[in-house]
Amino acid sequence: MPSFIKSLAVAAAVSSLGLGATQAQDALPDLAGRTIVAVTENAYVPLNFADPATGEGIGLEYDLFNEIAKRLNAKVDWQLSSWDVMIQAVRDGQFEVGMDGITINDERRSQVDFSDSYLTSQQLMLVRADETRFTDAATFAADASFLVGAQAGTTNFYVAVYNVLDGDEANPRIKLFDTFGTSVAALQAGDVDTVLMDQTSADGYIGANPGAFKVIGEPLGTEDFGFIFTPGSDLVAPVNAALAQIKADGTMEKLQQKWFYEYNAAQ
């Protein structure tokens, strides 16, 4: 395969990172041009979302998995579905790999296979711009009348339960909404006092609603994100090997720099 075609197949992700087309691929398994059916949702800035300008799916997970596939000599067939459907469909083998900022936990391991962690999420507290009653997670947790909005089973839910509140998943101080957007609407309306999100999303919401929100406190959370695979998938080992290499050679750092700091969601 000529190198120029190869670099085309990898798409803009890598070229924008300024990676050379010749990576050390000796140590990695060769999937011999196999097509991997991957699924995501395009609803999680900056991991996977639709580019406002083109409607194309972009984000850190796209770039990362494209890079993994490239190093394993495989192609990616990207598909979209909603969160509920995605996990069930990966479990059934309709898609081979799924990603949507999915937190690795033991209960879920009995349903799907996880890759190693590719990201440790850092959550920030987004609050209304005029918030003065609390300044960080500790002062928030101290007053039982302060409420947090989250989506069930997502990173911001787990961080709210285990890093901000008392570890009780049924804590009435957590108000569960369907989507990220609904939680933020509830924050703006005054139904909840904070919503946890990563830097990029927070910047996006602050940029899109000038004067409405601000971020307080230190980054929280130690949620590890992993790719999910159909149980017993032969892709787990090769993906983990490529992932280890990507972490070791600094590519992962570049990707995080690109999507968490350089990309502006509010453009």
């Binding site: 509920d84 089973g153 108000k175 569960l176 369907d178 609904t182 609407a185 309306a189 005054g190 139904d191």
Partner: protein, 266 residues
């Protein structure tokens, strides 16, 4: 050859669909009592049943009341009332329930709280949006949406009454209100009741949408449980089982009601 209708046998008279439903129900019951996975899901979701019933009942009663008033306005002699009521029905019927829920919850509620606070200014007290519970916002949204559908059911019922009846009543010297109460409405009720009961069944299903606002109904508890455990298929089986138990038993009651009304029609 002459055609002889066959005597209906016990076999041809049996409602097999009902037996199949009964069998499914027994299967479901067996699963949630004997299978550890399913019984755990059932326990996690059972708390939502009361919320679903409560939201539906309150919203349905309120929607019936508003629907009746709107239908009266739509069939009244006053042109302005008719126009306003028609406008209301057309606009509300054209908006998806889910979209309307968001409108009421995050646009209507803060605006209403702002208005109340403006009125309270002289008394030096304020209320917060939070005091207007999301459950109530969901109920308000469902009420308004369904009031438009129910208004149409009432209107069709009122208009189905023969005009001669009304003319006879008027010529006997009854007032407009007495005409409606004693002549039109009792006859209209026969046309109104079955579709109204069917709307109640639809509303049970549509109440699942309130989960989008985080109301802890059956669907929301199902979403929470499944997204934590990744047991989507199994959880939604239990969700469907709970809804079906309610909707099918009510549908059967509606059938009985229809039969009763038909047999007692004079």
């Amino acid at each position: 050859m002459t055609y002889r209708p066959r005597q209906p046998s016990i076999f041809s008279r049996t409602p097999w669909w009902l037996l199949a439903i009964g069998l499914l129900f027994v299967l479901g019951l067996w699963a949630i009592t004997n299978d550890t996975g399913y019984s755990q899901i059932f326990r996690a979701l059972s708390g939502g049943v009361l919320t679903t019933i409560w939201v539906t009942l309150v919203a349905f009663c309120a929607a019936t009341l508003i629907g009746l008033l709107v239908a009266l306005a739509r069939t009244s002699g006053n042109r302005i009332l008719r126009e306003v009521a028609t406008f209301y029905v057309e606009i509300i019927r054209g908006i998806p329930v889910l979209v309307f829920l968001f409108y009421v919850a995050f646009v209507g509620a803060p605006a209403m709280v702002g208005a109340v606070n403006w009125l309270l200014q002289p008394f030096d007290t304020t209320i917060t949006v939070r005091q207007f519970d999301l459950v109530w916002r969901a109920i308000v949204a469902l009420t308004i949406c369904y009031s438009a559908f129910i208004a149409e059911i009432f209107r069709a019922g009122i208009e189905s009454v023969d005009r001669g009846q009304l003319e006879a009543a008027r010529s006997l010297g009854l007032s407009r209100w007495k005409c409606f109460r004693l002549v039109t409405f009792p006859q209209a009720l026969r046309t109104i009741l079955p579709p109204l009961a069917n709307d109640f069944v639809s509303m049970i299903k549509d109440s699942a949408l309130v989960s989008a606002l985080g109301v802890q109904d059956i669907t929301q508890l199902g979403k929470v449980y499944s997204s934590g455990t990744f047991l989507f298929f199994e959880t939604y089986n239990v969700v469907a089982f709970l809804y079906l138990t309610m909707t099918i038993s009510l549908s059967l009651l509606v059938r009985l009601l229809e039969r009763y009304l038909r047999d007692n029609a004079r």
